[in-house]
C-alpha cells in the first residue's frame, strides 16, 4: 500500500516537473525568429528609414521661398513655417525631424538585429551579402542622422563636436542611455561599416534589388560619403563602380527623351519605379510631402521666386532644363516627382497610409558626385564630360555645340574667373535643378558651407531677409526632446 502511495506521488511530481522546461518554451504565436539566411534577408527589407527627410531638407535650403500672404490657398501648417525659420519643430507628425529621427533608428534596429542573428546562429558565408547589406544600411542611417542632427563634417578639421548615438547592437531594455560621440567618431564608424560591408555584397542576389543595398547602390552611397569627407579619389573610384566601366550613359534619368509623352500619373511613376536603371536604392516611405496640401500649398516652399526666378531660367549650359510642374492655384508649384501609393486600411472610410517610393540613391547623383570630384582633382575635361552627360538628358534639343558645358560659359554664368570654381559651381547648379524637391540641395549647402538666405514678403510685397551663415548653429536640427530627456543626449546649441 505504501508503495502505491509513493508511486502516485512520484509519478505525478515527475510527470509535471520534468517537462516544464520544454513545455513553457513554446512560442505563444506565429512570430518569426530570425535564424536563417532567408529570414535575415527578409528582415533587411525594413532596415531603411521608414520616414523621409524631403520637407526638412528642402525647407532649410535655398529651394524654399515665401509666397507671401497674397497668394491664395496657401497654408501655414506645421512644420513648414518653423522649418523655413530654422526653428525647432516640436511636433512629431508628418515631415518633422523627430519623425525622421525615429524612422531612421527603426531601420538601424533591424540592421543590428540582422547582424546579431548572423552571429548568433552562425549563418556563415551564405549570409555575407546580407551582412554587407545590414552594414551598409546601418552606415546609411547614421550618415543621414549625423548630417541632419550634428555639425557638418569639415574635411581636415577636428570634427570634435557632438555626433549622434551610433547604435551597434539591438536595444533590450525599455529605456537605455546613449552618448553622442563626436562627428569624427561617427564618420569613422560609418567608414568602417562601408568598408566592411562593401566587399561582402559581391555575389548577393535580391528578389527586388531596387529596394536593397546592391553593390551599385553601396558604391553610390560611398561616393556621397567620401564627397562629404573630401576624399575625391575615393568618390571617383566608387562612382566608377556603380556601372560597369564607370559608364553612366543610358543609365541616368533621361528626362527629355522619355518623359514628354507621359501622362501625369505615368510621369510621377517614372521617377520612382524599381525597373529604372537610375533608381539605385528605393524605399517605401510614409509621406504626405508629395501632396498639394503639404509643400505644394505651404506659404513657404516652392514659390514663384524659386520657380520662375531660378528653376525655369537658363542654366550654365545656356538654356533651361526641361521640367514639368503642376500649378495648384497661382503661385503654388508641385513638381510631381513622387507617386503616392495609398495603402488602404479601410476602403469604405478611405483611410490608410500614404507612401512614396523614395529614391534614396540615384545614378544621377553618383554621376554628379564624380563630376565634382574630377573638378576638385583638377581634371576639368572629365568633369565637363559628366556635366554634359547630365545636360544631354535634361535639355531639349541638346547638342554639344549649342548647350555643351564649357569652362568659359560657366565662368561667364557665375561671373567668376577661376575655371575650377566655375565647374564646381556648374555641378552644384545642375544638382540643384535636377534634384529640386528631392532634398539633395541641403547636403551641398552643408558640405560647401553655402550661406542660405530666406525672404519674407509682407502684404505690400516688401521683402526682408533672414540669413543662415556657414557656422550658424541652427544648421543642426535639434535632438528630439525625448532623446534629450530619456537618453541623456546633450542638445545642440542654438
Amino acid at each position: 500500500m505504501k508503495d502505491i502511495r509513493l508511486l502516485i506521488l512520484t509519478v505525478s511530481v515527475i510527470s509535471l516537473g520534468s517537462c516544464k522546461k520544454s513545455f513553457l518554451e513554446k512560442e505563444p504565436d506565429n512570430r518569426t525568429e530570425i535564424n536563417t539566411v532567408e529570414k535575415v534577408a527578409q528582415l533587411l527589407g525594413t532596415a531603411y528609414p521608414h520616414y523621409g527627410y524631403l520637407a526638412m531638407a528642402e525647407m532649410y535650403s535655398d529651394n524654399a521661398c515665401d509666397k507671401g500672404p497674397n497668394v491664395a490657398n496657401t497654408h501655414t501648417s506645421t512644420p513648414y513655417p518653423e522649418m523655413y525659420n530654422w526653428e525647432v519643430v516640436s511636433d512629431n507628425g508628418n515631415n518633422t525631424p523627430i519623425q525622421y529621427w525615429n524612422g531612421v533608428y527603426e531601420g538601424i534596429a533591424a540592421a543590428n538585429q540582422a547582424l546579431e542573428s548572423i552571429e548568433q546562429y552562425k549563418l556563415g558565408a551564405a549570409a555575407n551579402p546580407y551582412k554587407g547589406e545590414a552594414l551598409l544600411a546601418r552606415a546609411y542611417g547614421h550618415f543621414m542622422l549625423v548630417t541632419f542632427f550634428a555639425k557638418a563634417y569639415v574635411p581636415g578639421g577636428p570634427n570634435d563636436s557632438p555626433g549622434i548615438p551610433y547604435v551597434l547592437e539591438p536595444e533590450t531594455v525599455a529605456i537605455k542611455k546613449y552618448t553622442r560621440g563626436t562627428v569624427a567618431s561617427v564618420y569613422k564608424q560609418i567608414e568602417k561599416d562601408i568598408e566592411d560591408g562593401l566587399p561582402l555584397l559581391t555575389g548577393g542576389t535580391w528578389d527586388v534589388p531596387a529596394y536593397h543595398f546592391t553593390p551599385a547602390a553601396a558604391h553610390a552611397f560611398a561616393s556621397r560619403f567620401y564627397l562629404f569627407k573630401g576624399e575625391w579619389q575615393k568618390v571617383i573610384d566608387h562612382a566608377n563602380q556603380v556601372f560597369p566601366g564607370g559608364d553612366f550613359t543610358g543609365n541616368i534619368r533621361n528626362v527629355v527623351a522619355e518623359t514628354p509623352p507621359l501622362s501625369a500619373d505615368e510621369y510621377q511613376q517614372w521617377y520612382n519605379k524599381g525597373d529604372k536603371k537610375f533608381n539605385l536604392l528605393l524605399h517605401e516611405t510614409y509621406s504626405v510631402y508629395q501632396r498639394s496640401s503639404s509643400y505644394g500649398r505651404s506659404r513657404f516652399g516652392l514659390g514663384p521666386t524659386i520657380y520662375a526666378g531660378y528653376y525655369t531660367k537658363s542654366s550654365p549650359a545656356g538654356t533651361a532644363f526641361y521640367n514639368r510642374a503642376y500649378i495648384s492655384g497661382t503661385g503654388n508649384y508641385l513638381l510631381y516627382k513622387f507617386y503616392e501609393f495609398f495603402y488602404y486600411t479601410n476602403v469604405n472610410a478611405g483611410t490608410g497610409y500614404p507612401y512614396i517610393m523614395l529614391p534614396l540613391l540615384t545614378s544621377d547623383e553618383a554621376l554628379m558626385n564624380r563630376a565634382e570630384a574630377y573638378a576638385r582633382l583638377a581634371q576639368p575635361d572629365k568633369a565637363i564630360a559628366d556635366c554634359n552627360l547630365m545636360a544631354s538628358t535634361r535639355i531639349s534639343g541638346y547638342t554639344q555645340a549649342s548647350y555643351g558645358v564649357t569652362a568659359a560659359k560657366s565662368k561667364a554664368y557665375f561671373n567668376v574667373t577661376d575655371d575650377q570654381q566655375a565647374i564646381i559651381l556648374t555641378v552644384l547648379d545642375f544638382k540643384r535643378r535636377a534634384f529640386m524637391t528631392e532634398g539633395l540641395r541641403w547636403f551641398d549647402i552643408l558640405r560647401n558651407r553655402i550661406p542660405v538666405s530666406h525672404d519674407y514678403l509682407d502684404a505690400n510685397g516688401d521683402v526682408t531677409y533672414k540669413e543662415l551663415g556657414p557656422d550658424d548653429n541652427r544648421r543642426m536640427f535639434q535632438i528630439p526632446p525625448a532623446a534629450q530627456a530619456l537618453s541623456n543626449l546633450e542638445p545642440n546649441p542654438r
Partner: protein, 1237 residues
C-alpha cells in the same frame, strides 16, 4: 461502525449540552443510516441482552445493534429511568422493551423500523402534558420533496417536543393519524437541511421541500480547487444558488449574475445570443488587458475561444458572437455560482485572477435509492418589438420638411443625386424625371409646370411613416426544453441532462438553436477511492445579419462599418420616408454603395451562419491515503470549433457594389472597383460574377491536468487543512479565414474568379486568406495552509508560482510568485459574546496579498512579424519582416496588492445576514505605452509603467424577515446589495490622441479613471452659419479639431465609462402554492456618449433625431439653441477655419459635435429586470396526472427602465449601438413549465 457513530453522538451530547436541537438532528441523521441497513441485512427481531446496573441507553444500543431498529428518544428523559439489571435470551424485541421499561415512567411506540421512547403522561397537575389527547387531534399527511420536486424517501418526521415520529416511504409520503393540532413537525434526512413546519387545520395535506445540505450558504466554500469548511476560509466570496438567480427565458447563464452579487457589474453591451455581457468583478485592474473575470466550471478553467477584451465586446463585430465562453451551458444544469472577489479568495488562481473568478458548479447525481428522478423544464418566450414611441426619431412628414429645406440649400439636386453612393427618394425622383420611354413618348415622371407629378411622388413617401421595427422585428418564439435524470445509490450517482433551445429571432435577420448534453457520474469504488467522470457537449447553430469588422477613422473622428445591415441600427438610422415595398407591393430598391438596396432583400442575401461545437470531457480520481490525507487528480480536455460562414449572394447589395459600373462618375467614385497601377485607364470590376462565400474558423483545444494532495485534520480545538497542487494547462487556438470570391449561388455553385481580385488584394496588402495559431501554456505550483483554533480564530496562507510561455523562449519573467495571508475572527464563539435574539453572529475578516496578471505584452525577446511590402507594383512587392517590438528584458507581470477587510453579521437568529467588505488596491507594473528616445528603433514601447489605485465597498443584506411556520404560510425573502468601485490612474506616461479619449468607450489618461470619457468643449454656434465651434487643442476658439492631436489639455473630463455604484434588489414572497419574485438592478456614476447623429451633410436615406427640429435656422438662433444648422452647399464649400481663415472641410466641425460635451448623458439607471410568478400545482392533482411535481411560471424579463437620463432619448444606457451583430436586450415574456416524473 454504528457504535462508533453512536458513541460520537454521546460525546457530543455531553460537551455541548446547551444545544439539544442539534443533537436531536444528529441522532436522527445517524439512525436513518442505521435503518437503511435493516433492509439490507434483514436481521432477526429477537434480542439477547445481559446487563448489570447499566444505563438504560446501553440496553437500547444493544437492541439496536441486534435488530437494526432505530431508537428515538430525548436523553433527559432517560436520566430519570435509572439503571437496569436484565438477562434475556432470544426474546422478541417488544417483549424485551416491555421488560426494560417496566417500572419506569417510559413507554415505547414502534413506527416502521423505529422505536420511539417517550415518557408516560402522568396524571397529576404538576406534570400535565402540554396537550391532552382529547384536544383537537388531527390527521396530517404529506409528501417530502427536494428542490427539483422529486420525492425523498427515508425522511424522519418527528412531532416536535414529542417522541412521535414516522419516516417517509419511497414516494416521499408520510402520515400521522392523530397529532396535536398545533404540533410542529421536524423533517430531517441525510444530505438535507432540517426543516420545521407548523401544521394547521385538520386533515391537511402538506408538501414539504427540503434543501440539499450542500446548498447551505454558510457551510462550504467552493473554490474550484477545494470544497472548504467556511470556518477555514477567510476570503471574500459570494455564493449564488442557481435557483435564486434563475431567469427563465434567458438561455445564457452569464446573465444570471445580474444584480445578484455585490461588486459584480454586468453590462449588457449586446443582447445577441453568444455575445458576452461586460462583466467586471470589483472594477478594472488593467489598462491594456482584457479585464474579464476567469470562469471556472467544475474546477476546470474555461478558456475563451477568442480573446475579446471587455471593451471589444461592444464593437458588434461578428467574433463577439463567440465571446461568451459559457453560452454552451444550459441554465438548468447549473447548481450554483461562487464569486471569488478578494486576493485571499482568488489566491489559488494566482496569475489569472486579477479580475476575479466565477466558479460554476453544475448539478451532480444523488443517492435516490436507485430510483430515476426525471425533471422536465420548458420555457416559451416571446419578445416585444421595439417601437418608435421609445425613441426620438422624426416622422416621415417632419423628415420631408427637412429634406425640402436641404433641397432649398442646394443639396439633393439632380446633378448631385444622379449617381450617389447612397440615394433615397430624391435620387429616385430625378432619375424618373430623366427616364424617357421613346416608344410611348412619355417620361417615367413628368416634370410638369405645376410640379404635380413631383408632388404626388413625394407625397407618397411623406405619408409613408414606415415603421421599420414592424418591418424588421418579430414577436418571435424562443423555446427551451431541458430534461434531466438523476439517479444513484450510495455506490454511484448519475446525472444526465439534455436541452434544446431554439429562437426564431428577434428580427428577420437572426435565428439560433442550441443543443446541449451533459453526463456526470460519481462512483465510489471503495471507501477510499472515488472516481468522477463528466462529459458535456453543446452545438450551436446561429444566423445573424452579414457584417464586416468595424473600422475607426481617426482623421475625421468617426467609426464606420461597410455594408452594415444590422436590423436594429437600420430601423433607427433609416428615414421613415423610405418604404420597403412599392405601390404594387414589390420590394422597393434605393441605392447604397452605388448599387440597389432593399433591407429585406439584403437580410435574405447577406447573412452569417455560425456553427459551434464544444465538447469537454473531464475526469477526477480521489484516493484517501489516510482518513485525513487525500490524493486527487483531475484532468480535462476540451475542444471547441466555430465556423462562421458569411453568405454574400450575387444579388445582395454587397456583391452588387463590386459591379456598380453604370457611368464614369460611379466608376471613378466606386471604391470597390480596382484602379490598376499597371494600367492607367478607368477602374475595373474585380467581381464580374457571383458573390462571396467567406469562411472564418476558430478552434481551441485545451488540456488541463492537476495533482492535488490535501490534509485535513482536527485535533481537539485545532483544525488544520493543508493543500498542495501542481497544475498544467495547454491551450492551442487556431483561427482561419478565407475569402471565397466569385461564388455563384444561383449557378450550381460555379466558382468564377477574376485574377484582378487577387492582384488588387496583393497590392493592397489585404491577403485573401489567413491563418494564425497561438499557444497558451501555464504551469503552476500552489500551496495553501488553513488553520482554525477553537472555532474562533482562522488563519490562511496561500502561495502560488505561475509559469507561462507568453514570453516565448525567454526565461525572463517566465515565473511569477504570488502570495496571500488572511485571518478571520468568529466573535460569536467568544465567551463574552452574548448572542442575543437581535445580534446573533459576527465574523471579522482581513486579507492582504499579491495577485498577478500576465499582461498584454510579450516582448521579453524581440517580436517580429511578417507582412507584404507596401509598394504599388506587384513585381516590386516582397515579404518583409518587421520588428513589432524590441526586447524588453525588464518586462514583468502586472500585479495588484490588495487589502480587504470584511465582516459577516447575523441578526434575528441569523434570519437576516449582512456582509460588508472594504478593499483597497495598489495596482502596479501595469503594461502601458511609453515614449522613448527612439534611438533603439521604437519611439513608443510597451513597458511595466502604469500605476493605478482602486478602492471599493460592498454591502449585502439578505434574509427572511417574515417566515410563517406553516408550510403554506406567508414567507418573504429579500436581498439588497450594492457596491462602490473607484479607480484612478496614478501614472501613465503615454500621450493619447483626442480621438482615443472622446470615443464612447473612453480612454486612459493619468489622473483619471481607468477608462475616462472626455469631451471636446463646445463653444456655441457660429452666428453666420449655425455651425458648431469649440475650444480647440490649442485652447483657442475654433471650428476645426485635429482628432489625432496629442494635446488633450483642453478636453473636458466627463467621468468614467464604467459605473461607480452598482447593485440589485431582489424580493420573493411565497404564499400557499404561489411564489412571486422581482429583481431590480441599478447603477450610477458612469457617463455615456450619445449616438453620433450629426453630420456635415445628410442624404435622403437617413433618419434624423427630433432634436433636429430645434436646429439653428437663422442668425440669432445661436442664443436659443445648441443644435447645429444644416449647412447650405455654398457655405459648406467655402467653410473657413475660425483660427486661421483657411478653407477646411466642415466634416471636422460636425463630427466633433458628436464628441462634444453636448452629446453626453449620465449612465444612471434603475431597471426592473425580472418579475416572476410561479404556481405549484396541488399535490393530489399532480399525482392524478401521474407526476410527482409540477410548477408553472410567468416571467417577464427586462421589463422596464424605471429611471434613466432623459437626454438618452430612448437609447439604452447599457447598450452600445455599434451595428454589426449587436442587438439590445429585448423585453420578453416567458411561460415556464417544470415537471417532475
Amino acid at each position: 461502525m454504528k457504535f462508533t457513530a453512536y458513541g460520537g453522538v454521546y460525546l457530543l451530547l455531553r460537551r455541548i449540552p446547551s444545544q439539544p436541537k442539534r443533537i436531536m438532528k444528529l441522532v436522527l441523521l445517524l439512525t436513518t443510516v442505521a435503518s437503511l441497513q435493516l433492509s439490507a441485512s434483514g436481521w432477526s427481531q429477537n434480542v439477547t441482552i445481559r446487563l448489570k446496573n447499566a444505563p438504560v441507553e446501553k440496553a437500547f444500543s444493544e437492541m439496536r445493534r441486534q435488530t437494526g431498529f432505530q431508537f428515538v428518544y430525548n436523553t433527559t428523559v432517560l436520566q430519570k429511568a435509572g439503571k437496569v439489571n436484565i438477562s434475556l435470551t432470544d426474546v422478541p424485541l417488544e417483549q424485551a422493551l416491555r421488560t426494560i421499561l417496566s417500572g419506569t415512567s417510559l413507554a415505547y411506540t414502534i413506527v416502521d423500523s423505529s422505536v420511539v421512547i417517550r415518557r408516560v403522561p402522568v396524571q397529576n397537575a404538576s406534570e400535565a402534558p402540554p396537550v391532552t389527547a382529547a384536544q383537537d387531534n388531527i390527521g396530517v399527511k404529506g409528501v417530502v420533496k427536494n428542490s427539483d420536486g422529486h420525492p425523498i424517501p427515508q425522511v424522519s418526521v418527528i412531532v416536535k417536543g414529542t417522541r412521535i415520529g414516522v419516516s417517509t416511504d419511497k414516494d416521499g409520503a408520510f402520515e400521522f393519524k392523530s397529532i396535536s393540532e398545533n404540533a410542529t413537525l421536524v423533517f430531517s434526512a441525510v444530505g438535507f437541511e432540517t426543516k420545521e413546519i407548523k401544521v394547521g387545520s385538520a386533515n391537511e395535506t402538506i408538501t414539504v421541500e427540503l434543501q440539499q445540505a450542500e446548498n447551505k450558504l454558510a457551510d462550504v466554500v467552493v473554490t474550484g480547487y477545494q470544497n472548504l469548511d467556511r470556518k477555514l476560509f477567510t476570503g471574500a466570496t459570494t455564493k449564488l444558488n442557481a435557483k435564486d438567480a434563475q431567469r427563465n427565458g434567458i438561455p445564457d447563464v452569464s446573465r444570471m449574475l445580474e444584480g445578484q452579487v455585490a461588486g459584480v457589474s454586468v453590462q449588457n453591451v449586446s443582447g445577441t445570443f453568444g455575445a458576452a455581457p461586460k462583466i467586471r468583478i470589483r472594477g478594472a485592474t488593467s489598462l491594456s488587458g482584457d479585464n474579464k473575470p476567469l470562469w471556472v466550471v467544475d474546477g476546470i478553467i474555461l478558456e475563451d475561444i477568442v480573446n475579446i477584451s471587455n471593451e471589444a465586446l461592444s464593437t458588434g463585430d461578428a467574433n463577439t458572437l463567440i465571446g461568451s465562453s459559457v453560452a454552451g451551458l444550459s441554465p438548468d444544469d447549473i447548481e450554483s455560482f461562487t464569486i471569488l472577489k478578494d486576493a485571499a479568495a482568488t489566491a489559488l488562481y494566482g496569475a489569472r485572477a486579477m479580475s476575479g473568478v466565477i466558479v460554476v458548479t453544475t448539478k451532480k447525481g444523488r443517492n435516490t435509492q436507485g430510483k430515476a428522478n426525471i425533471s422536465y423544464s420548458g420555457n416559451f418566450t416571446t419578445y416585444l418589438k421595439p417601437n418608435y414611441s421609445q425613441f426620438d426619431i422624426m416622422t416621415s412628414a417632419d423628415q420631408m420638411s427637412v429634406m425640402i429645406e436641404m433641397e432649398n440649400k442646394g443639396y439633393l439636386r439632380p446633378a448631385s443625386v444622379a449617381t450617389p453612393q447612397n440615394g433615397g427618394i430624391f435620387y429616385k425622383l430625378y432619375n424618373q424625371m430623366y427616364d424617357y420611354d421613346a416608344a410611348a413618348g412619355t417620361w417615367a415622371l413628368s416634370n410638369d409646370q405645376n410640379l404635380a407629378g413631383r408632388n404626388t411622388f413625394l407625397q407618397r413617401y411623406a405619408r409613408a411613416n414606415t415603421d421599420w421595427f414592424n418591418v424588421l422585428f418579430k414577436n418571435s418564439l424562443l423555446q427551451e426544453h431541458a430534461i434531466s435524470v438523476t439517479s444513484g445509490t450510495d455506490k454511484f450517482q448519475n446525472y444526465f441532462s439534455s436541452s434544446f433551445m431554439h429562437d426564431n429571432g428577434q428580427t428577420s435577420g437572426d435565428e439560433v438553436s442550441r443543443y446541449t448534453g451533459n453526463a456526470r457520474t460519481t462512483i465510489k469504488i471503495s471507501k477510499k477511492l472515488t472516481v468522477e467522470m463528466l462529459a458535456n457537449a453543446s452545438v450551436r447553430d446561429q444566423k445573424a445579419p452579414g457584417t464586416l469588422t468595424r473600422q475607426s477613422d481617426p482623421v475625421y473622428g468617426a467609426y464606420s462599418r461597410s455594408f452594415d445591415i444590422n436590423p436594429y441600427s437600420y430601423s433607427l438610422n433609416t428615414s421613415r420616408l423610405i418604404t420597403p415595398y412599392d405601390q404594387n407591393g414589390d420590394p422597393e430598391y434605393f441605392v447604397m454603395n452605388w448599387a440597389p438596396f432593399n433591407i429585406l432583400n439584403e437580410l435574405q442575401n447577406n447573412y452569417l451562419k455560425l456553427q459551434m461545437l464544444d465538447i469537454k470531457i473531464q475526469g477526477g480520481i480521489k484516493y484517501k491515503i489516510l482518513p485525513e490525507l487525500q490524493y486527487s487528480v483531475d484532468g480535462a480536455y476540451r475542444f471547441a470549433q466555430t465556423t462562421r460562414q458569411h453568405y454574400i449572394q450575387s444579388n445582395s447589395n454587397m456583391a452588387s457594389a463590386f459591379r456598380a459600373y453604370t457611368n464614369t462618375s460611379v466608376i471613378q467614385d466606386n471604391t470597390w472597383l480596382y484602379n490598376d497601377p499597371d494600367n492607367n485607364n478607368l477602374p475595373v470590376v474585380v467581381l464580374p460574377d457571383g458573390g462571396f462565400f467567406n469562411i472564418y474558423e476558430n478552434k481551441i483545444s485545451n488540456y488541463y491536468f492537476r495533482n492535488n494532495l490535501e490534509y485535513d485534520k482536527t485535533f481537539n480545538v485545532h483544525k488544520v487543512n493543508l493543500f498542495g497542487s501542481i497544475e498544467a494547462r495547454a491551450t492551442e487556438r487556431q483561427s482561419y479565414n478565407f475569402d471565397g470570391v466569385g461564388y455563384n449561388y444561383e449557378n450550381g455553385g460555379l466558382v468564377n474568379t477574376n485574377y484582378r481580385y487577387f492582384k488588387k488584394s496583393t497590392e493592397g496588402g489585404a491577403p485573401y486568406f489567413g491563418m494564425g495559431k497561438n499557444w497558451d501554456r501555464f504551469l503552476a505550483y500552489m500551496f495553501r495552509a488553513a488553520y482554525n483554533y477553537d472555532n474562533r480564530y482562522s488563519f490562511n496562507f496561500t502561495s502560488r508560482m505561475d509559469g507561462s510561455n507568453k514570453m516565448g523562449k525567454s526565461r525572463q519573467a517566465r515565473w511569477l510568485p504570488t502570495w496571500n495571508v488572511s485571518g478571520a475572527w468568529d466573535i460569536d464563539n467568544e465567551k463574552f459574546f452574548r448572542g442575543g435574539k437581535i445580534f446573533s453572529s459576527a465574523r471579522l475578516r482581513a486579507t492582504y496579498g499579491l495577485v498577478g496578471n500576465i499582461g498584454n505584452a510579450n516582448n521579453t525577446a524581440a517580436v517580429y512579424y511578417n507582412r507584404m511590402s507596401y509598394r504599388p507594383y506587384e513585381r516590386e512587392t516582397e515579404p518583409l519582416t518587421f520588428i513589432s517590438s524590441l526586447a524588453n528584458t525588464d518586462l514583468t507581470w502586472e500585479k495588484t496588492k490588495e487589502l480587504n477587510i470584511g465582516a459577516d453579521l447575523g441578526f434575528f437568529n441569523n434570519n437576516v445576514n449582512v456582509t460588508v467588505d472594504w478593499y483597497k488596491r495598489h495596482i502596479f507594473d501595469l503594461i502601458s505605452t511609453i515614449q522613448t528616445a527612439g534611438i533603439g528603433g521604437e519611439d513608443s514601447k510597451t513597458a511595466n509603467n502604469g500605476l493605478m489605485e482602486a478602492h471599493g465597498f460592498e454591502f449585502t443584506i439578505s434574509g427572511s424577515p417574515l417566515k410563517s411556520a406553516s408550510p403554506n404560510g406567508f414567507r418573504w425573502r429579500t436581498q439588497l446589495n450594492f457596491a462602490i468601485n473607484k479607480n484612478r490612474i496614478t501614472r501613465l506616461e503615454v500621450a493619447p490622441r483626442i480621438w482615443d479619449l472622446v470615443k464612447a468607450e473612453g480612454g486612459a489618461l493619468e489622473g483619471y479613471a481607468q477608462r475616462g470619457l472626455f469631451s471636446i468643449k463646445f463653444n456655441g454656434l457660429n452666428h453666420d452659419n449655425g455651425s458648431p465651434t469649440y475650444i480647440n487643442e490649442a485652447g483657442v476658439k475654433d471650428n476645426y479639431i485635429y482628432f489625432q492631436s496629442n494635446d488633450v489639455d483642453y478636453l473636458k473630463y466627463e467621468g468614467p465609462t464604467d459605473p461607480v455604484f452598482t447593485g440589485g434588489f431582489f424580493n420573493r414572497v411565497d404564499y400557499r402554492n404561489f411564489s412571486l419574485s422581482a429583481l431590480v438592478t441599478f447603477s450610477t456614476g458612469n457617463y455615456i456618449r450619445l449616438q453620433p447623429i450629426f453630420s456635415a451633410s445628410y442624404d435622403d436615406l437617413y433618419s434624423m433625431s427630433k432634436i433636429m427640429k430645434n436646429r439653428w435656422i437663422m442668425p440669432g438662433d445661436e442664443t436659443r439653441t445648441n443644435v447645429p444648422s444644416i449647412l447650405d452647399q455654398y457655405k459648406s464649400s467655402s467653410f473657413t477655419r475660425l483660427s486661421t481663415g483657411s478653407v477646411v472641410s466642415p466634416i471636422y466641425a460636425y463630427n466633433a459635435y458628436n464628441y462634444s460635451d453636448q452629446r453626453i448623458a449620465k449612465g444612471d439607471f434603475v431597471r426592473l429586470k425580472t418579475v416572476s410568478l410561479s404556481y405549484q400545482l396541488p399535490q393530489n392533482l399532480v399525482n392524478r396526472l401521474g407526476l410527482t411535481a409540477m410548477q408553472v411560471s410567468l416571467v417577464g424579463n427586462n421589463i422596464a427602465l424605471l429611471y434613466s437620463d432623459k437626454s438618452l432619448l430612448g437609447q439604452d444606457p447599457e447598450f452600445f449601438n455599434n451595428g454589426g451583430v449587436a442587438m439590445p436586450i429585448p423585453r420578453q415574456y416567458t411561460f415556464s413549465l417544470k415537471v417532475g416524473l
